[in-house]
Symmetry: C2
Subunit: 259 residues, 2 copies
DNA sequence: AAAAATAATTGGTCATACCATTTATGAATT
DNA sequence: AATTCATAAATGGTATGACCAATTATTTTT
């Protein structure tokens, strides 16, 4: 293994050869030695180049594949993923999503991030951003009459992600994208629940409109406030939905317990 | 391999034996068959139980170790991690951290989350929370005179994490914990930079104190405002530091280019 | 009872072989 | 010359068996 001494910001030397190899490969990907879509040398050749056994090299590659950095096909080769980080693999977040108790926390967090997005978007959005925002809003409104919650959820996510893009903070955008991915199903469920209550939908429209207006006006305080109002409304609805779901789950547990 | 048909929300069957094994082990961890801290059966035994080869079993375990779900020690065994998700493994976030251009975004995002924490902490903190907050604040202040930026960064993180705990939103807490882990080094650098400017440190103290007071008073608006003021201050400092670093990096690149 | 030595267990790495899939190459056909 | 088909080579996936290094358990000695 190559000597890693004298590297700036040296991390603790990994205990495993496979970790060391993975780090070197990740560095090569990050710095562009291997570009997205590019095919890596064959496993046997990489093992030889790194001076390790093929099983050890494979362990390193497997970890990178599992994290979405690499894609491999039996007989076809190993490639740098063209779309890095498509899956949020943090194990605790995955566990949280699967626990209804924390779903409310997740939704609250998401909407708080939206408030943040609104604030920065109001500060920083360009003319092009605003044009796109208007377009996304129109597309969202166009889904209201329909009874297709999945389509509406998609348009809703697009609208909020466009706000996040207009905030010009890539970390915020990245986290928002991941959270919306995780929440996709519960957003659909929430919208499905809202389908039944027209006055709630009217309010939803007004809130989205007010949010857009605040951003277009370039008023961060107003944008934050509008997002906050939206947040309170959504949380109330979700609390109600959550209570209902908890009752349903409890009933279902009794049904399954009988088996 | 066991039949996965008839499972609700069935995922696409993984192409690899190691992925299938990993999924089964994860399910066993999630449902409590293997509890945090518990030792897993030896690799040779697990391989036998799953009916796969030891290298394949190891590939599965390695992925779980890489994700923080398992911990293994040569000669000592493999254990379910007591603290799940200690490492934020999202590949894009890792790449972002390693790019100075996005560091500002990351810091901005973190401080925005702190504003959020402050808001909810003011709303929800219990008497016990407030007691702990006061204690953490005192410990932080105790580090000010010292010229140990690492110790101060640790106390600073502890203070802010205690606020996040008092917010009673586990997703927010989780993300804050991860971000602070990623930012550890740059926080240390920032504090090191602040060591030199006493008036900045006085201001930092006042901001932390005002933040604490707002939370103890149970005033979310005030807490948000205080956090916001703190944010603006820190961002200004970091912009300055970042500009300095960028110049340093550019100089360093020229030095390395000569080699 | 405590310490030291030894043995067993466990994870880490490796070499080699073989299987399954994909890709490249060359021959045959149109 | 272009296309198709058969074959070989390359590649990833899995397995077996061996050995090394670290840890833990057991036995022996003090």
């Amino acid at each position: 293994m190559t000597n890693k001494e004298n590297m700036p910001y040296t991390t603790v030397r990994p205990r495993r050869i496979s970790d060391a190899v993975m780090e070197q490969l990740e560095t090569m990907v990050a710095e562009g030695t291997f570009k997205p879509g590019q095919k890596l040398p064959a496993e046997r050749k990489l093992a030889q180049q790194f001076g390790v056994s093929r099983p050890s090299l494979r362990e390193a590659l497997q970890k990178m594949v599992a994290r979405g950095l690499l894609v491999s096909r039996q007989g076809g080769g190993t490639y740098v993923s063209s779309e890095i980080g498509s899956a949020f693999s943090d194990p605790l977040l995955i566990l949280l999503v699967n626990h209804p108790e924390f779903h409310y926390d997740l939704l609250e967090f998401r909407h708080a991030l939206e408030g943040l997005s609104a604030h920065y978007a109001a500060l920083r959005s360009t003319a092009a951003d605003k044009e796109l925002l208007q377009q996304r809003f129109d597309e969202l409104v166009a889904t209201y009459p329909a009874t297709d919650p999945e389509k509406e959820a998609e348009a809703d996510a697009a609208f909020h992600l466009t706000i996040a893009e207009a905030a010009h903070n890539v970390v915020l955008l990245h986290v928002m994208r991941r959270l919306l991915g995780l929440l996709e199903r519960s957003i659909v469920d929430n919208l499905r629940s809202l389908v039944e209550r027209k006055e709630s939908r009217d309010l939803l429209y007004e809130q989205h409109k007010a949010l857009l207006d605040a951003i277009l006006a370039g008023d961060p305080e107003w944008a934050s406030q509008m997002s906050h109002d939206h947040l309170v409304f959504v949380e109330d609805g979700l609390l109600e939905l959550s209570k209902r779901e908890t009752r349903v789950r409890r009933a279902l547990r009794r049904v399954y317990a009988v088996r």
